[in-house]
Structure formats: C-alpha cells, structure tokens
Symmetry: C2
Subunit: 336 residues, 2 copies
Amino acid sequence: MSDFVNVAVDAMGGDNAPVETVKGAVEAITADKRVKVFLVGREPVIKEELKKYNYDSAQLEIVHAEEVIETGEPPVMAIRQKKESSIVKGMQMVRDGACDALVSAGSTGAVLVGGQVIVGRVKGVERPPLAPIIPNINGVSLLLDCGANVDAKPSQLLQFAKMGSIYMEKVIGICNPRVGLVNIGVEEEKGNALTKETYPLLRDCRDINFIGNVEARDIPLGTADVLVCEAFAGNIVLKMLEGVSDALIHKIKAGMMSSLKSKIGALLVKPALKKTLKSFSTEEYGGAPLLGLNGLVVKTHGSSKAVEIRNSILQCIAFKEQKINEKIREQMVLDD
Amino acid sequence: MSDFVNVAVDAMGGDNAPVETVKGAVEAITADKRVKVFLVGREPVIKEELKKYNYDSAQLEIVHAEEVIETGEPPVMAIRQKKESSIVKGMQMVRDGACDALVSAGSTGAVLVGGQVIVGRVKGVERPPLAPIIPNINGVSLLLDCGANVDAKPSQLLQFAKMGSIYMEKVIGICNPRVGLVNIGVEEEKGNALTKETYPLLRDCRDINFIGNVEARDIPLGTADVLVCEAFAGNIVLKMLEGVSDALIHKIKAGMMSSLKSKIGALLVKPALKKTLKSFSTEEYGGAPLLGLNGLVVKTHGSSKAVEIRNSILQCIAFKEQKINEKIREQMVLDD
C-alpha cells in the first residue's frame, strides 16, 4: 500500500452529486499531496465530471459502482441488497484496508447501518456514535451521539465521552478537552433517568476531563469541547443550531432590505457579515465521523457542497496520522 | 368582585426585582384599563419603587409578603415552609379566587410546585405543562412541555396537544392551530419509544389538527403552531433557540465592528436590525403559562425586564375573557 491517506468518496451520494462530490475530491487532492481519493460511483458520469478539472492523476482513481442507494430506501435492506452501490463498495474498501476512510453525503441510515455491518465495530464499542463538529462563538465542539439509534444506555454515553475526547484532542488539537453532559440544569441531580445515571460514571472516569452538566443555552457559547447526549437530544441540538441560524439570518437579511438607508448599510457590512456567518455554519467543518469503527466513515450533509466534501476528506489525514482508531482500541482494551 | 382582570404579580421574583417587576406592573395597568394588579412582596420596598410612577390607584394594590423564595432553594420545601413568601401568597390569591392569575419571574421550581400544590390541577389533567410562546420567522408557536418533570407518558402528550390547541386558538388567535410532534424525522415510525407511542394517539384525536412529526430544524420556520414534546426535549429546544440567537447576534455585532467600512454600515442597518431581532426574542412574548391549573400561573424569565412582565400581565386578559380554564375543564370532562 502507498503512503497516501487513501479516502474513498461516495461520488453518487447527496443532493448535489456528482457535481459537488467530484469537485470537492479534486479540491482536496489539490490542497494536500498526502491524500489519494477513490471516487466510487458510475464511471462514465464521474469521468465526464472530471473533464472540468486539472489534477494529479496519481492522487485520484475511479472505482466503478453501478448502483446508488437513495435517501428514502430502508437502510438495512439497501445495504443488504445493493452490493454494487457506491456506499457498500466504499465501505468494503475500508473494511479490506484498501482505503483508510469513506466520505459520503448519501443516506444517513445506510451509512450508519453499513458502518456497523460492513466496516464493523472496534471490539468493546457498544454503539458507534455519529459525531458532528458544531460551531460555537469561540471555536468548535464535538456533539455525540447524533445517530439514528435513540434511548442509549449510561455505559454507551461514557464510551461516547472517551471516544469524543480522543477525537477532539488528536484530530482537532484541543488539549485536555472539556466533556459536558447535555442536560436541563447544571446541578448533578437534574435531568432524566439517563442523565442522572450517566453523571456519576462521567464524574468518576479518570480518562476524561468532565466539567459537569451543560445546559443547551450554553452550548453555542462553547462551554464544553465534547458534548455527550443520546441521539434524540443530540439531533434536536444539531437541528436547532442549524434551523435557528438559518431563520435568524433570513430575518436579518429581510430586515436590512426594509429601507433605503439599511440597504446601503447592508452593502457595507456584507463582507464582514459573510465572514462571520461562515464561521458559524455547520458546513464549514467537514462531516460527522462515525466513531468506534474499524476504519473511518464520515457522513456529510445531504446538501453538501464541494467545500464540505473537501474538508471532510482533509479531516481524514489527521484521523489516520494520529492513529485515532488505535487509540480508541487501546482505550476499550483498558476498560475491558 | 370587581370587573377587573385581577393579576397578582410576584414583585420580589427574578433577577431584576423589584425595579422591573413594579415597572412592568405599572406599564400594564397604564396600557389597559381592564387590569388590576396586586403587587405581592415587601410593602416598604414596593412603595418606594412606586414613587417613581403616576398611575391609577384603583388599578393597583399592594399585598405584603415578608418572605422571598430564592432561586437556589429546593422548591418543595420552599413552598411548604415559606408561607409568607410572595409566590405562596400570590398562588393562594389565585386559589381563593381573589385573583385570576399570578405572574412570577421567580424560581421556576417553586412556581411549578406551587402551581400544582396550592392552585391545584383541573380535574383530569395528568400533568400541567409549562408552555412558553416561542418566535418563528412568521409568528409564534407554543412549545409544551418545558417544565421540570421529564419522562412524560403518551397520554400526557395528548393532553398537552389539546390544552395547547385551546390556548393558541383562544388566546393567540390562531384558527385551527397545527399540532406537531417534535421528533428526529418526519416519518411516523421515527423517534424514541415515547414519540412512537404518542404519534397514533395524536393522529386519531379528532379535537386537534395534527400535522405529524416536526423536526427541530423546521421549528424556527413555524411549521407548527403547537409543538408537543416531553420536558427534556422541550427544554433543549427552548434553550437552543435562546442560546443560538444570542450567540449569533453577538458574532454579527462583533463582525460588524471589524472594519471602518462595516462600522459605518452597522450604523445604517442598526434600526432595521434592532426591529428584526426584537421580533425574534423570546422575551417579547410574555411568559410561559402553566396550563391545566385552577387559575392561571405565568412564569416569566428570571432575567425579565419590565416589557416581559407587562406583556405577561396583559396576556392574562385574553386568558380570562376567553375562559380558557373552563374550556380545558370541558375538554377533560369530554375525555373522561
């Protein structure tokens, strides 16, 4: 195997495939010579897209996959039956070691199921969490779990805290990351049965830097680097973050167009505003890794543009070089 | 009893009491001749504050209460022991019919406990939900439950949907309000055990206009008028809404100060921006009613300013005139 960080990219996944997936792949290999991308999908379509670009052909390969898993398909059946789909083929490449990672903007359900069934869990990991990086006013936090499996157990939340801490420290570079338990009050006794049982597990764990409960209100302030919760709560946090940002920006833009004076003002603030809003967009930070698998699987937004695909691919470099999976494996052995 | 809508106001509750509570009370009686306010709290302090204002003394009375329940106190014990507190005295006035409603910016726990223990539930109501009005890009929605009791039952969520529909139709004036179940996907089979069991109850209920599951991402778009969820989820929705708005506004303001050009632009857009942000602030819409009690109890933010106190008091007029509690009582009898 080469010295490249080999990343399979689901060329057919997402609303903007293959245009944006191929573009993002080319941008990634242009940005970093350490990456080789394997574009998995319908070869003629990918070839046609690639004609638009100049790139180093040593860094790019096409892997033909005839089928595509659609967003609406029941994930378990899709993974089982569509053996020739871009997601299944990409996952197999990770499982077989031909690739270090798969990046997909396709069906979340299929990515989650395929990750567990094809790539497989690290021994000891009870549930691999889907862990998006979310912006806060000072930087970013990791939010886990945002997957499809709700009603988690306290022992699973403890594992999320450990895996999330490793990821934030080694991939994002935050030393001794602060772990917070998403809750409806800061006091230890607050919350539901799950948070009440999880709190002492996190408090007594010596492998993490637990700072206590974090109220949703403080999440955008960046109070914690690693935010632990079960997937129902995580989904609400993530979707509210995206929904409120979008709604507020929509309102602000409409408000600025309400008079001639404010229209002129809007022209003047536009560049600064654009930069600000970019730093608060979830799409800027690459996709969400599915942690605890025998290889890296990154799920990006279904609406991903090239920038998110590119950033997700580049994120795989640190993941490999920092040997994240080895570290998670060691942690699980320690706990055994 | 007079023809007034009689509202007890906890003059001592909240971070800005008594300055803002007294101010808000005076503003309310000045704004509407139908209201009479009973300022409950330490008489000398209230009297001193009232010296600042001119008002119609027929519309205002002071009810002395020596004690104050602090935010940190265990609520059950505080309600039991501090018989002379402003919250307990105000609640007793509602229970005894001397007042139609109590407005308090004090301890949420004490308000929730006191509401149940002193004012008492309407017969048939399993759990009185705390129901804040939240802004969306086109208007407002009612979010229930945001109380302190988590892990609700499906039958309770069904009651929330019914009480919330009555409130939105009669107090806010939204005809045939759309009821949505807060969930992590729109399909019926999505979610956790609670949402899966609740969905068919809401779908089959003929007293409400159920539109299905609502993802958190669509809450700020105003997809539903009545948002039903248990309190853990509701708390996250509410606090994310507030937290993301504040964080984004902070970022935008800082961004606009980053260059001379954008500073000039900021001056020009400021009035329009202020108006926009005001319409998206949770404080503009008055407090959260605790529904299903034998009288109205409204909890406002701990950080309430006069505007929120005033709006909360004025909200009580429609609640009384539209006979909301009678309608809730009828609904519960129907279900019996």
